[in-house]
Amino acid sequence: MSAVPDTFFVPKGVTRREFLQRLQAMGGLLLVADGLQIAKAADAPKYGAEGMPHGTVDNPLVFLTIGDDGWVTIVVHRSEMGQGVRTGMPLIVADELEADWAKVRVEQAPADEDKYGNQDTDGSRSTRHFLDPMRRCGAAARMMLEQAAALSWNVPVGEVRALNHEVQHQKTARKLSYATLAKRAAKLPVPTPSALRLKTSGEFRYVGKGGVPIIDGHDIVTGKAQYGSDPWFKDMCFAVIARSPVLGGSVREFDGEAAAAAPGVQKILRMPAPVAKATFHPLAGIAVIANSTGAAIAARKLLKIQWDDGANGSYDSDAYRAALQESARNPGKVVRESGNVDTAFKAAARTIEAEYYIPHIAHATMEPPCAAARIIAGKCEVWAPTQAPQVTREDVAKHLGFPLENVTIHVTLLGGGFGRKSKPDFAIEAAILSQAMDGRPVKVTWTREDDLHHDFLHTVSAEYLRAGVGADGKVSAWLHRSVAPSLATIFAPSTNHEVGAELGMGFINMPYDIPNLRLENPEASAHCRIGWFRSVSNIPHAFAVQSFVAELAANANKDHRDYLLELIGPARKIDPKSLHDDWNHGESPQRYPVDTGRLRQVVETVTQEAKWGKTFARGRGQGLAVHYSFLSYTAAVVEVDIDDQGRILVPRVDVAFDCGPQVNPERIRSQLEGAVIMGLSLAMFGEITFKNGRSQQDNFHQYRVTRMSEAPREIRVHLIPQSDWSMPLGGVGEPGVPPVAPALCNAVFAATGKRIRRLPIRDQAKRA
């Protein structure tokens, strides 16, 4: 290894402190080598939850109460966006507490990281980071209840035992309910962590079992569930905003007369000026406030606005694609190197190269960004579907000029998140508009057009791969260049390389057994807001690597599965640092090595379950891909059925998944089912394009997503059982997505002989 990744940088115009704060505010996604190297200089690096702002809290008095009626109320401090955290987190507490799940209710925490610990719900880490603290909460409360019962009966605490919502004294056949004991127990000291007696996994009542209905199921199906769009007050007013269509643009002049005269309109307002760094700042624009969202939308059409586009007004995604591809064909910053690639290429029997392209993708959460706010006596309340409650609170306070304690963020259910709702521009807008309306409750709604025009988009990427192979088809040399604008550009616009967290998503940490290897990252600049989209840079990296491996296998005339397993090599645990991955998802390299044995196992499992190698009729076939991300191992086999017009049907998808021990297997399955659909969506249709700095897609007719008629009728999820609870957890929400697109394209190749190197597929499967 010769090259060291240059992730230790602070872009111009940003103080290091600010840079780190903003990166940390992103929820450690970018804690990267940068932050870790600074930490190393000062003190030992902090990993996992303790490396996140405000770390963890495990005090049962913060997270749970038991009422006189016996009902246990458990506080959830992470945001629910469909991943099941409002069910899974309380399940852990309830299990250790020996509570009866039928007597548990859940309360959502407002933003308050001092009290609850880190609340940034992204990076596939809620359960990974909070399994242990939540277990300690439940266990501590259980022991306090036991202590209270022992005191009541005047018996040694060792003789009593909590069981299913009551404490028993077997010797005397006495019982006391949690309801009876709660008040006394709450006054006892909380046991120290070293005194805690955690359950053995054999004693788990709910954890790892599945079979528990989701906590909000009834409210959702009856229309009672409260999303960010749902707060409602009698004196509420409703806003939409015409925002600058170009990043960094501003309002030169506007005529709001006709809009102001439209039915129901209450006010036309200019939003604050744009700032150089996009961060989560609201975009420049004109707000229309009316007595209904519908009236505001109608009136907005009457605004006459002249925009100053600024520097990004010429952004054209076609020209940009060509430039990225050209960059990928030329040497760039070396981020990892081993052996001697150039010599190995010269010695290779054959050289194979391929280029891949993955466009911008929009999150398109079903609930577009939205929030409500009101201000009473100098105190602001915001109702927001936010993945980043604390960041939302800090940013709202800053924009209003309020002290933090005068801002309350009520975290609602999120109608989809996928990373979009980590950026609280919509909540800041609501607060600003309420302030402008003298504190009246204001609800801001983004229309779907607003959402697709002003998203923090998934990056766009060109990937170039070249392999030198021997006469036996084995890879002796590997060159991979990845070039994509970084999401760090929203904090530091001059960033022109992928940062550590992006490199560490399936690029730099690629664990294959290849003797001579060089990975390069040429420069790229950003011209729209780049954000993190479910599974982030793993999408382009997995697409390129997994497509290329299939190409190499085909070229060597070998079975893809066998070839892939040979490339992965024997089972071994690789130190991420030896791959120059100093990020490692913010986790300890000792606890979380890259385990090629587990990578092999998901490949073997999914191919066995999907009956890999069976013969298909004309136009049908299977494709395979595997990817390690968010500390979990995922492999997928996609089956396609392609008609003469090139229309792709996907009858069945198999996924094998290893995330370590599973807290709520039922929700893990649902996450993987959903990841398959999202992966198919982006592979088939997902693309946002730009002309003159403006996003060209307005609504779902132009930005298509998978519908039921296009979805697989069968998705089979095969969870790799892991019963050792000392094993660290992997992520769940994101790692299902990356292998889907390459597995689909590999299936298209198997069925038609057509190789898809550019996403989305659209009609590329049409026979020539």
Partner: protein, 154 residues
């Protein structure tokens, strides 16, 4: 104007061309019906008007006057709606849940006309409803389960 929503008479003051969705959500505070696209492309806003599944984001409220409007808040009082809500919970269909009100309304309209739908019937009736979380296989299973349940209790 007077509307009949979930068997209740309601008086609202609204422009005739204001979409029904915003009358429900903003003027009446009935927020179970969701906004997703404003162009009848995603189905999140689906309600029943005289039993037909309608995208309320594009339906001028005046056109709903004098007709029976059923929303997610009221559909549980019908046997089909209740069966679907039950099946949805038993199968744990929702992830984020935002689109599910619209999904259930479309499924209600389907089962009222086609009590035992085939896969193709389900796809035809449900493909106007987008679920970004990707719960389609469970929606399909829940519709079949509800259809069986309604069939057995008849």
């Amino acid at each position: 104007m007077e509307l009949q929503i979930n068997d209740q008479r309601v008086t609202v003051t609204a422009e005739a061309d204001l979409p029904l969705l915003w009358v429900l959500r903003d003027l009446l505070g009935m927020t179970g019906t969701k906004f997703g696209c404003g162009m009848a492309l995603c189905g999140a806003c689906t309600v029943l008007v005289d039993g037909q599944a309608v995208r309320s984001c594009v339906l001028p409220v005046a056109q709903a006057a004098g007709k029976k409007i059923t929303t997610i808040e009221g559909v549980g009082s019908t046997p089909v709606g209740a069966a679907l809500q039950g099946a949805w919970q038993e199968i744990n269909v929702p992830q984020c849940g935002y689109c599910q009100a619209g999904q259930i309304m479309s499924a209600t309209a389907l089962l009222q006309v086609t009590p035992q739908p085939s896969d193709a019937d389900i796809e035809a009736a449900m493909s106007g409803n987008i679920c970004r979380c990707g719960t389609y296989t469970r929606i399909r299973a829940a519709i079949k389960q509800a259809a069986t349940h309604v069939g057995q209790t008849k």
